[in-house]
């Protein structure tokens, strides 16, 4: 393992003293006392060793005239700042700007680490160590970036170049967790190659890896999250809040299945009709024919309206059965419920989308984990969202699943219209999914990171981006960003506006905004989303897109290619591609 205090392959003439012997030397050495404000006690000697390397420290201590360079005091070297009076700081949140992100790929960070390593060695060879403190600080900073972005290779390299060992209890836990994954990786390899039927042991290891991933994710150790996923190759687990309660976690596939089953069983509807037909007299034939054709027309469960019609039909039959209503009353009720359902379906005006259908060429599916969102956005159109931990009245909702976890489910395809609360030893509680509400997504990751909405910034913020084919927003989005009466963004059009092809942006109806029939959803702009924000209305169910009936949500999901989770610096920490839809 590489995490030894000093294992650098050096020339024989380069000294390799141990930390302890150095500590003893420093206490005896009068030169050490001149190095203020750092008092070279054994504990902070360790800090210096960790950040600048043993060889440099040895050289430092052997040069009695060395003065502490200001770069040490100003650098971000952890634990080395004098701990005098606590300083009150006013933190001003700076707006995120992707142009200011120094390392957008793991390779660029590795290149920088190698460059710094060369510089350090060169300095030591030449005997000029004035810059090594800041290099030590840089290694620490680069390591933090590697952890945040889950860059395993870069992390390993920086631990090696920085000669880092755990600095405090938290790091001890982090290192131990990392080592545990390595141990499980070795075990797993052994089991796969030597034992013919080791499925039980493999399952135990998988459970351990999931649990490690959970702990690492809660601590922000994304390199360990990635490492565990890499070793385990399993479906990520959906977690509820509060964290750490392992009874509130569920396999993503299982939850996906439960949500998909939140639609009525069409067979149940068919069985009911067959039963009714077997009991019907000639006088009820007309009513039964209507019921049969309505069910047949909606049984495919393509739209939310289909689902509602079938569900209300089954529910009504069950209530009649439980109340032991007679056959005629039951038939009358089923007839009444279905006519209401059909009427409701036609109440919202049909929004027709015309023009040349969009048939994009798609780029190859690549693993963008650890890559900056700006790279992804050069290949795909991205709708991104920031979402806080599900909470109400300032308290987390126990067992509530984060929106980001829901976005990764196959059934949600990046656009979750369900809310889920996991209950210990019970079926998860599902909310939403009823066709109500809307979701607003920023065009591009920058708008999501900088989004300042109250609900999204109360804690537990996570970010995700939904990948669409490049050109999708331009083809189907109604660009309202500068179409408002004030020259700013126009308001969100309602169903009626889309259906009629225009709207007014003011109450006096003087400022008319055209809505061409080639558009399927609105793109507006707010102060935090100058690049635009797309509005997806879950109740916009009556759309006819290139001759196919569907809801706006179904239409958007049809084009979704994948979903990514990214961090506040814009780096992807998880990615999933969905199956292709025809």
């Amino acid at each position: 393992m590489y995490r030894l205090p000093s294992q650098k392959n050096s020339d024989s003439n380069k000294e390799q003293p141990t930390t302890h012997s150095l500590a003893a030397d420093s206490i005896r050495s009068p030169s050490a006392e001149t190095i203020n404000p750092l008092q070279l006690t054994p504990s902070n000697l360790f800090v210096l060793q960790r950040t600048i390397g043993n060889r440099a420290l040895s050289r430092l201590l052997s040069q009695s005239s060395t003065q502490p360079p200001s770069s040490l005091i100003n650098s971000n070297v952890p634990h080395s700042t004098p701990t005098s009076e606590p300083v009150q700081r006013i933190v001003i949140q700076k707006k995120y700007d992707p142009n200011e992100v120094p390392y957008k790929t793991e390779k660029s960070l590795i290149d920088r680490a190698n460059e710094l390593y060369e510089q350090r060695e060169d300095m030591l060879d030449k005997g000029d160590i004035s810059g090594i403190y800041s290099i030590g600080g840089d290694f620490e900073e680069l390591k933090e970036i590697a952890i945040a972005n889950g860059w395993l290779e870069a992390y390993d390299l920086l631990i090696k170049w920085g000669e880092m060992i755990p600095g405090d209890e938290e790091e001890e836990q982090e290192f131990a967790l990392y080592d545990k994954v390595t141990e499980l990786e070795t075990k797993l390899k052994g089991l796969k190659s030597e034992v013919s039927d080791a499925s039980e042991e493999i399952n135990i290891i998988m459970d351990e890896l999931r649990s490690i991933e959970h702990i690492a994710a809660m601590n922000g150790w994304n390199h360990i999250v990635n490492y565990a996923r890499k070793v385990g190759k399993y479906t990520p687990v959906v977690y509820g809040n509060p964290s750490g309660d392992t009874t509130n976690s569920m396999d993503a596939d299982k939850l996906d299945e439960i949500i998909k089953n939140d639609v009525p069983d069409p067979n149940e509807a068919i069985e009911i009709i067959e039963y009714l037909e077997s009991k019907a007299s000639e006088s009820s034939k007309e009513a039964l024919d209507f019921i049969r054709s309505t069910i047949d027309n909606n049984i495919a469960l393509i739209t939310k309206d289909n689902i509602k019609i079938i569900k209300s039909f089954i529910n009504t039959y069950k209530t009649a059965q439980e109340r032991e209503l007679n056959f005629d009353k039951c038939l009358k009720m089923l007839y009444g419920v279905l006519t209401t359902g059909l009427k409701r379906r036609t109440e919202s005006p049909e929004i027709e989308v015309t023009g040349e259908p969009f048939n994009p060429e798609l780029p190859e599916r690549e693993d963008y984990t650890g890559i900056h969102m700006s790279e992804i956005e050069s290949k795909y159109d991205v709708l991104a969202r920031k979402s806080g931990a599900p909470e109400k009245e300032g308290a987390l909702i126990p067992g509530a699943v984060h929106e980001v976890d829901l976005a990764f489910l196959d059934g949600m395809r990046g656009i979750p219209n369900y809310r889920v609360t996991l209950k210990a030893e019970k079926k998860p509680e599902l909310g939403g999914g009823d066709g109500g509400g809307e979701k607003v997504y920023a065009l591009g990751h920058t708008g999501a990171i900088n989004f300042e909405g109250a609900l999204s910034n109360r804690g537990g913020e996570r970010l995700y981006g939904v990948l669409f084919p490049s050109g999708f927003m331009e083809r189907y989005g109604l660009d309202l960003r500068t179409k408002g009466i004030s020259g700013k963004s126009a308001q969100t059009p309602v169903d009626q506006d889309f259906a009629q092809g225009y709207m007014y942006d003011d109450k006096k109806k003087t400022h008319r905004v055209e809505i061409p029939s080639t558009n399927a959803f609105a793109i507006r702009a707010e102060d935090n989303t100058p690049d635009g924000q797309a509005h997806i209305h879950f109740s916009r169910s009556n759309m006819n897109i290139h001759g196919k009936k569907m809801s706006q949500l179904e239409f958007m999901r049809l084009f979704v290619i994948g979903v990514v989770e990214f961090n506040m610096q814009g780096f992807v920490i998880n990615i999933k591609y969905f199956s292709e839809r025809k």
Binding site: I309, E429, G436
Partner: protein, 145 residues
């Protein structure tokens, strides 16, 4: 009710703004039960149709509070029904359970089915009743609270 709140309720820029205004109205009416909102607000609450369950539940609570002298009406139950399972909105869920107290959700579900199937009650009540019977699984409806 102040004018800003009324404006956000009746002419919101976004659906989100209307939900916030409804939340505020619930708090306002709880704190000062004697000050009824203006007629246009009451009319809006009675006539507004939405598929958003949170908005529907808030409207149900408001309508019930405006008519406290009477037992909860079927229209209030229709708007509030989904809130019984709304664990992500604990305050709304609590208020819904309070209003349902002494009533059997299963009996209410029967009644909601009747008003849809037999075209009884007001058009708005039927709208919300259909929202319930077309989205809630009858098998999951409890006999008692």
């Amino acid at each position: 009710m102040n004018n800003k709140l009324i404006d956000s309720l009746l002419h919101p820029k976004e659906s989100y703004e209307r939900t916030q205004a409804l939340r505020e109205a619930v708090i306002e009416l709880q704190n000062n039960s004697f000050s009824s909102p203006q007629e246009n607000v009451i009319n809006f609450l009675r006539s507004y149709k939405t598929e958003d369950q949170v908005q529907a539940a808030l409207i149900g609570i408001l309508l019930h509070r405006l008519d406290r002298s009477k037992p909860p009406q079927i229209g209030v139950f229709a708007r509030l029904f989904p809130a019984l399972q709304m664990s992500w909105e604990p305050q709304i869920q609590k208020m819904a359970i309070e209003i349902f107290s002494g009533h059997s959700p299963k009996e209410v579900f029967y009644e909601l089915t009747d008003i849809v199937a037999l075209k009884e009650g007001s058009e708005e009540d039927r709208y919300y009743a259909y929202n319930v019977i077309s989205t809630v699984d009858f098998d999951s409806v409890p006999e008692t609270m």
